[in-house]
Amino acid sequence: MRNFLIATLVCWVLVVGLIIQHDRETAGPAKTDVVGGKVQIVFWHAMGGPLGIVMDDLITRYNKSQSSYYVKSVNMGSYDTLAKKVLASLVANEAPDISQNYETLTKKFIKHHKIVCLDDLIASESEDIKADIVPVLLENNTFDGRLYSFPFNKSVPVLYYNKNMFKKVGLDPDRGPDTLEEMVEYCRKITKYHRETAGEDKNVYGYGCSKANVWGFLNRVLQYGGKIVSDGPDGVMKSGFADPAAVKALDFLQSMLREGLAREGQAFDHQNDFIAGKVAMIESSIVSKVFMEEDIKNFEFGIAPLPGHLMVAGEGNQPETKAGEINRGVVLSGSNINIFNNGDPKKIAGAWDFVKWFTSTDIGAEWSVRTTYLPVRKSSVESEIVKKALEADANLRAPFIQLDYCHFEPRLSVWFEIRDLMADHLERATIDMGPAETYCNEMARDVDAILKHATH
């Protein structure tokens, strides 16, 4: 026993020594505000993996590019963790200077005066920055007419498809299906081919999707011309889930499953199925491209805009959709950055300087090309960097085609709760396989009950 205790003690002393040594090498857990004469700006984010590497690379470049500020990047792991940490830090008055956040949180921050209004910072700039932001992203970050957060890493869902399978069944490997109806045809061909051809894996499906996928459902609702949430005549918000568009959206998925064209999995199963060559097409965020490129080795994959719905006269209730046009409506995902009001004007100025730099035309374009996130500025979209990259890599083009069709989810604090509720109904719909109207009506009823008490 004594030997064991001595060994433990030795181990402890050794570890403490190594920690002290490592702290010296890495400048330690800096609580200081000034590093080497520069004002330190603490930036909390959730960018890990290959995307995080790109971001840290850009941050290093920023730190070298000027002598007033030093941005310290702190990775919090996941968005979920980040949100929890930010909320906790605000309670403790230990908030970072900048962080990534969803819009639903931004609203809370505004209410409690925790973040800086960007309009005031933009006002002192000579350039008209607001006019250059992609309209849907600007709208997404504007609250009561004022810009409070800056779009940072916004992404769209796209269609990934297996070019080798397309070739096998005689489909053009350089383009994806344009409409949902066309996609069903593609799925039939691919599924049938694998069922009937000797020597092929009989378990290959045309389409892979995940159970209770709210994102996918909302995209479909938009494509059929529906609305997610709208203001009723009495000022009470109402969901559009009992409308024909939503019923069609759910029915589309159910029909594919019923016909045996699609395979449903949990969470990221569909993505893994695609990588493993078990399904020919999946819907996933464009950001997954970077990961797919690392993981897919046995076939070539293509990325196409999500197939849309060919609008018929009188269909749908979005004012901007016209009959005879393909509606490619998609829901944006990803986050924005907030600048926290920590009471130090120097830090706020530094935070703004960094945000401005990161989203400037060329840096924004580079960020977009290297990570596939949407560029924030119109000038980035038209920049040479983006043009060249799109020419070199056809798989990068889809988000730019979808840019004009982007919508965002309601920025309500109850929205996460609603999403969970929707997921339950969607899951039931594909397990029980009853008529789509039933689930849609029930979903609308439950969601409206929450919306009744929600405020903008």
């Binding site: 190594l18 792991g77 996941s78 008055n93 990221f268 993981d295 897919i296």
Partner: protein
């Protein structure tokens, strides 16, 4: 014919062997996965392939095996051709073929795992030793002495065990932030110095020690503290060890608390580091399993090294009534 030395042990041992296979399977799977490439992990094959893709001639059928080897050779050739080019002209998409240690190297490079390990070891050892010391002192008092409100205090202390950790998370965090401990080692360590469970556990054990020992020692001139460290502690080594293992494992595996109270990468513990391999765009199973293997390795090695000590200490605690 083969003869069993103890035929009556056969059924029990068979059961135990089957049980241990069930228990070990996840670990074996984890270790096997840590040596596989992502496409092997997500392989469509219906066979359960435990071994990673090392040189395994004849494992697959002839044609498949040939195709596989060709593919490997092509990959290696493409990679080598790319390496010959000047860096600027290299095609970034052509990557080196998977080597069996790649997941480990990736995991080690992706995060400062070295520091995460140091932090976890430091926190676990400190918390375990200090909390054992405090708990044994408290349990000693509860077991051997009478003082006013003893039972009330004991009940109050037991009451804290009824509160779930989740309920304490926010109040604890706020207390720590008020005293300025958030984002420091103090926050990781100090709140765990007192453990009601440990006090309760040790008190129950101490109560079983005969009171005669205490009286005899007192007559021989032992002070209360001398009795504690000369008699009680040596007699309670088995229970202390058990408790120590529980406490060490709990600290080694703790995730939520370290996540909430630390912001700096240099203060992160290993479990938080593991969570980094799952992101919104999917999970990197290979590196995650490699990192998990590395995480449990010190525990396994530590246990085997210390096992002898534990068994020995248990064997020498018999006493005559």
């Amino acid at each position: 014919m083969f003869k069993f030395k103890h035929p009556d042990h056969v059924p029990v041992h068979t059961l135990l062997i089957i049980g241990s296979i069930f228990m070990l399977f996840p670990f074996i799977w984890m270790i096997a996965t840590s040596f596989k490439s992502q496409d092997e992990i997500l392989s469509t094959s219906k066979k359960i392939v435990l071994l990673p893709d090392l040189a395994r001639p004849g494992f697959l059928n002839g044609a498949e095996e040939k195709a596989r080897i060709n593919r490997k050779n092509d990959e290696a050739a493409a990679w080598q051709a790319e390496q010959a080019k000047p860096a600027a002209e290299r095609n970034q998409k052509i990557r080196a073929p998977f080597q069996w240690l790649d997941n480990y190297l990736f995991a080690l490079r992706a995060q400062p795992f070295y520091r995460f390990f140091l932090n976890t070891i430091f926190v676990s050892i400190t918390v375990t030793s200090v909390s054992l010391f405090f708990a044994s002192l408290a349990a000693y008092a509860f077991a051997f002495f009478n003082f006013p409100f003893k039972n009330t205090m004991f009940m109050l202390m037991l009451g804290t065990m009824m509160l779930p950790q989740q309920a304490l998370l926010i109040p604890n965090y706020i207390v720590l932030s008020k005293i300025g401990w958030v984002n420091s080692y103090l926050a990781l360590i100090v709140p765990w110095f007192a453990s009601a469970y440990a006090v309760f556990f040790l008190r129950q054990f101490f109560m079983q020690l005969p009171k005669d020992l205490f009286e005899a020692a007192t007559i021989d001139g032992c002070s209360r503290f001398q009795f504690y460290y000369k008699v009680v502690l040596p007699l309670s080594i088995p229970s202390m060890v058990t408790l120590g293992i529980f406490s060490f494992l709990a600290n080694w595996n703790s995730f939520v608390w370290p996540l909430i109270v630390t912001n700096d990468t240099n203060l992160r513990v290993i479990q938080v580091g593991l969570s980094y391999f799952s992101s919104e765009a999917g999970t990197k199973w290979g590196p995650l399993m490699a990192a998990s293997t590395m995480t449990i390795l010190p525990l396994v090695i530590g246990y085997f090294l210390a096992q002898k000590q534990f068994v020995e200490s248990q064997a020498t605690t018999g006493m005559k009534e």
